[in-house]
Symmetry: C2
Subunit: 371 residues, 2 copies
C-alpha cells in the first residue's frame, strides 16, 4: 500500500458517498487509482455529482487530515497491517436496500490496534428507547463478552448501544464505537464523555471524514460495518422496525452469527427480537456465555491453556475443513505461524486435518456450550 | 365396548398404578380381559402387589363408582364414542422415566363431550411459583386460544395452570383440568371453586379413581395425559428443572407442537423455557395467535367459512399426504363424512389429494401465520 494509493482512496471517499452500490460495480472493473482518474476526467459513465465533487476533493482531504490530526485520528486503508480484513467480506455479498460494498478506508481514533482488537469481536446493539430491563441485559452481556476477551462493537447511540460500550468498559475490555459521523464529532452530544473514554480505552471508527455530520441514511450505511467487523451480532431489544434489525440483516448476509435476547412478550421493545427467533433469523441468547458459545462454538473458559495465536486460529476454524493458507491469509499470520498453532491445537486434540484442510474436532473441555 | 370390558379396565386400573410400563408390555401380549384373568389367577409373571390388590379390586371399584356418581363423574374407556383417541398415541411411543402407555380409562366430571372438546385443544402449563408477568402471559394466551375455539388443557395447579384455566373461562371457552388425584378431590384446596367452575363449563378428568390423593409420582404420570390430549403444548415460565418441562418432553415424544413463552433473561422462572428454545426442543411463541399458527399451521381467523367437519379435517391434515380412511379413523368420523369435508376443502383450494392421500395445500387467507 503506497501513500498515493491511500490518498487516492481518501479522495474517492470524499467524492462517493459511503455504501454507494455504484462503487462496487466500478471496483469490479478497475482499481481505485484508475477509478479516480476516470472521475477526474469525467467521462460519460461518471455521475455528475462525483465529477463536481472531485474538484473540491484535494482541498477537503487536506482539511480532513488536519482535523484528524487534531483529534488524534488516522486514515486506514485495505492492505495496511492494521486493516480489519473482515470488512472485505462486504465486497462478497449482495447489498441491502441501496447500501453495498466494503469501505474505501476507515478513520480510526484511539490507541488500540484495530486488527488485533477485531480478532474476535462481538457486536451488541439495540433500541435507542430501551427499557431498564434491556439496558441491564445489554450491559451484562457486553461485560461477559469483554470478560472473555472479546471486544464489544456497537454504535454509541442512546440506549442499548451506550449500555453495551459501558458494560465492556466496566469489565476492562476493549470496545469499538462505529459512528455514522466523523470520529471527532460528539454525536449524540450527551455521549461526549463516553466517546472520549472509548477513544482512550478502545477505538472510535468511521468511514465518514472528520467533521462529517450524522445523516439519517448514514446510520444504515454504518450498520454494515458493525456487522462486518464482528464475528457475531447480538440484538438486545428492537421494536418491529428497528434499525438494529438492519444490522442483524447485514450480519445474516455476511454469515456472521445472528443472536437476539428475549424479553417479556408484553414489551414492544422485544417484539422485533422475538420475531427474529420465530423467523429463524437469529438464535436466542440469555447471557454472554450463550453469545460466546453460539458465536465461537465454545466458551473461552473451556479452551485449554493455549497460545494467543493458537486461540485465534481455533476461533477461525469451523466444522468444514479449511486449508492452512486460507486461515493464514484471513488472520494475517504467516503460514509458518499458523502451522505451529495447528500443531499446538492438534496436541490438545481439538482440531483435525486431512487433505481438505483443518477443522475443529473435539470441543475443548467437554460437550457443554457447543453451538 | 361391552359393560364387562369397561368393568375389567376399571378393575385393572385399581390394581396397576397408572403409567406403569409393565402394563404396556402386558397389553402387547393380551387384551385387558385376558390380563385381568391372569392377574386373578396370579401366575408367576404377575407382580405380587397386583395379585394382592386384585382381591380388593371389585369392592374398591364399587366404591369408586359410588363416589363418582355422587360427584357427577363417569368412567370412560377406549372404544366408547366419547373416548379421546389422541390418548392412544401414548401406546405408540417410548415412555419417559418409569412412566409409559395409554390410560386404561378416564374418570370424567363435567357436562362437555371429551372427544369434541378434544378436537383441537392446546395445553398451557408452567411454573407453580410463577411471576406476575408469567401469570399475565398465561392468562392472555389461554384466552386467545379459547377465543379461537380451542379448548385449553392444564393441570389446575397453582400459578400458570390456574391462570390458563381462568383465562380460558374468562374468554368463555372450554377448559380441561387433568388431575393427579380423583376428579372429586379438591387439590390444591384453594382451587375448590376453580375446579367446580371448570367442572361446570368444561371438564375435570383423571385416570386416578375418585377419592385418590395426589402423590408426587402421579404428577409426572398425569403430565403425559396433558401432552397426549393436546395438539400443542405451551410452557409459560419454567425453572431449569420444572415439571412443565416433563410435559413438554412428552409432547415432543408424541409429535405434538412444543412451544414456550420467552421472558426476561434476568428471571429464573424463564430459564427452562429459554433453554428449551436454545436446545431446539420448542418454538418461541409470543401470543395466542402464534400458538394457533404454530400448532395448526394457520390461525382460525384465516380459515374460510367452512363447516365444522371440514375444519376438523383440515386441522388433522398435514403437509404429508394421509389416506382419507386414516383421517376418518383418527377423527371418529365416517369415511363418507370425511370425503364430503375434503370436497368442501377442495372447493376452497386449501387441500390437495393424490394417490397417496390428502394434504394441506394453499394456506387459507394468504401466507401469514404459517408454521
Amino acid at each position: 500500500m503506497t501513500r498515493s494509493q491511500s490518498r487516492t482512496r481518501l479522495l474517492l471517499s470524499l467524492v462517493v458517498e459511503a455504501g454507494d452500490p455504484r462503487l462496487v460495480a466500478w471496483r469490479e472493473r478497475c482499481d481505485p487509482v484508475e477509478l479516480w482518474h476516470a472521475v477526474v476526467r469525467g467521462g460519460p459513465e461518471i455521475p455528475d455529482p462525483w465529477r463536481e465533487a472531485a474538484a473540491e476533493a484535494p482541498r477537503r482531504a487536506d482539511h480532513a487530515l488536519r482535523r484528524a490530526e487534531e483529534a488524534g485520528a488516522r486514515w486506514l486503508v485495505p492492505g495496511s497491517a492494521a486493516w480489519p480484513v473482515a470488512l472485505d467480506d462486504l465486497d462478497e455479498v449482495d447489498g441491502i436496500g441501496h447500501v453495498a460494498g466494503a469501505p474505501l478506508g476507515l478513520w480510526v481514533r484511539g490507541g488500540g490496534d484495530l486488527s488485533s482488537i477485531a480478532a474476535a469481536p462481538v457486536a451488541v446493539v439495540g433500541a435507542r428507547g430501551c427499557t431498564t430491563y434491556g439496558a441491564e441485559a445489554a450491559s451484562d452481556i457486553a461485560a461477559d463478552c469483554a470478560d472473555q476477551g472479546h471486544a464489544v462493537v456497537s454504535g454509541a447511540a442512546f440506549g442499548i448501544d451506550a449500555c453495551a460500550h459501558r458494560g465492556a468498559l466496566l469489565a476492562g475490555g476493549p470496545t469499538v464505537a462505529v459512528l455514522a459521523c466523523g470520529v471527532d464529532v460528539d454525536y449524540p452530544r450527551a455521549h461526549a464523555a463516553l466517546l472520549r473514554r472509548i477513544g482512550e480505552e478502545g477505538l472510535v471508527i468511521s468511514e465518514f471524514a472528520p467533521g462529517a455530520e450524522p445523516q439519517r441514511h448514514r446510520f444504515l450505511v454504518r450498520n454494515r460495518l458493525i456487522a462486518a467487523l464482528s464475528v457475531g451480532v447480538v440484538v438486545v431489544e428492537a421494536a418491529r422496525r428497528s434499525g438494529s434489525l438492519n444490522t442483524l440483516h447485514w450480519a445474516d448476509q455476511l454469515g456472521r452469527t445472528t443472536m437476539v435476547v428475549p424479553g417479556p412478550i408484553t414489551s414492544q421493545a422485544s417484539c422485533g427480537t422475538h420475531l427474529a427467533v420465530r423467523d429463524g433469523k437469529a438464535l436466542l441468547v440469555t447471557s454472554g456465555r450463550d453469545v460466546v458459545a453460539d458465536t465461537f462454538g465454545v466458551v473461552d473458559a473451556d479452551l485449554p491453556a493455549i497460545s494467543p495465536a493458537a486461540r485465534r486460529v481455533w476461533l477461525r476454524l469451523g466444522t468444514e475443513p479449511q486449508p492452512a493458507e486460507q486461515v493464514a491469509a484471513a488472520l494475517r499470520l504467516s503460514p509458518v505461524a499458523v502451522l505451529r498453532a495447528l500443531r499446538e491445537l492438534e496436541r490438545h486434540a481439538v482440531v483435525a486435518g486431512d487433505e481438505n484442510g483443518w477443522r475443529r474436532d473435539r470441543v475443548p473441555g467437554g460437550t457443554q456450550g457447543v453451538g
